[in-house]
Symmetry: C2
Subunit: 159 residues, 2 copies
């Protein structure tokens, strides 16, 4: 077993959050306990799989606190309307950086922090009815960054 394993924090109790506000692919009347919520969407005359925000934050705090980061990313997922399936965070020593992911039914949120630089790279990739832009204020509150760079990419464009 890798010596790093004991240092990982495994958070694998998915919430039961599920939003059901938009059109779904599964026909009505069928068992939708595992209904897919990451269907393709049409917006601004474009059809695509999902919105992927590449968020770089600078001059940020709390980047070496795995519990706070776990909580912030879960809240970020919930406010965007996403469904949490699994999360895992790794805490590095000696610099205290954290790397982790939250797997969503609608894709994922990830974070990689460099506390020594007060910098973190965050990804908010969400499909279907979710809106990752709603997650940005949550990140601002959790990390109080001096600067937030948001790079929006649309994944899986078909038209």
């Amino acid at each position: 077993m890798n010596a790093l394993t004991p240092l990982g924090m495994v958070s694998d109790l998915p919430s039961e959050n599920q939003t059901n506000t938009a059109v779904r692919e599964a026909p009505l009347g069928q068992d939708n306990s595992d209904e897919r919520t990451d269907y393709f969407v049409r917006r601004d005359g474009m059809t695509f799989a999902g919105t992927h925000l590449l968020v770089d934050i600078w001059g940020a705090n709390n980047l070496d606190d795995p519990a706070l980061i776990d909580s912030a990313l879960r809240e970020a997922a919930i406010v965007a309307g996403a469904t949490i399936l699994h999360s895992h965070f790794h805490h590095f020593t000696p610099n205290g950086g954290v790397s982790g992911v939250v797997v969503l039914a609608e894709s994922h949120i990830s974070i990689h922090t460099w506390p020594e630089r007060n910098y973190a790279a965050i990804d908010l990739f969400m499909c279907g009815a979710c809106d990752p832009h709603l997650s940005i204020p949550v990140l601002r509150r959790a990390f109080a960054p001096e600067r937030v760079d948001v790079n929006e990419q649309r994944r899986g464009r078909v038209a």
Copy 2:
């Protein structure tokens, strides 16, 4: 507990792959069992945290096979020189799509598949000495896509 939990596949036996070919931040002689390998790099006159490839594949196969996907992404990490810390894959029903992540010491690889569209969104985000471009041939062999769109983003540019 979420009804989706039993459907998740948890693969959490990290490999012991570790490449040690580049300059490190930890001083020589210290215990480097958790030495950070995701240091900032300087390339093409630019200093940044890491290279993030957003890879969309079309006309692809094996997008509903979690075991194959797990194996392919692990191989993709290894050939790029990355260190695997954790992985988790979720298999959706009824469409068979797979969502998952491999957490690396040097960031992460993620995948979200839409077998009904023969499409998948893959992310290869790697820092330090890793080269995510080396992962692309592994993905081509695993999924045999008709088309591969690679969008390269440099995260955390400081200069």
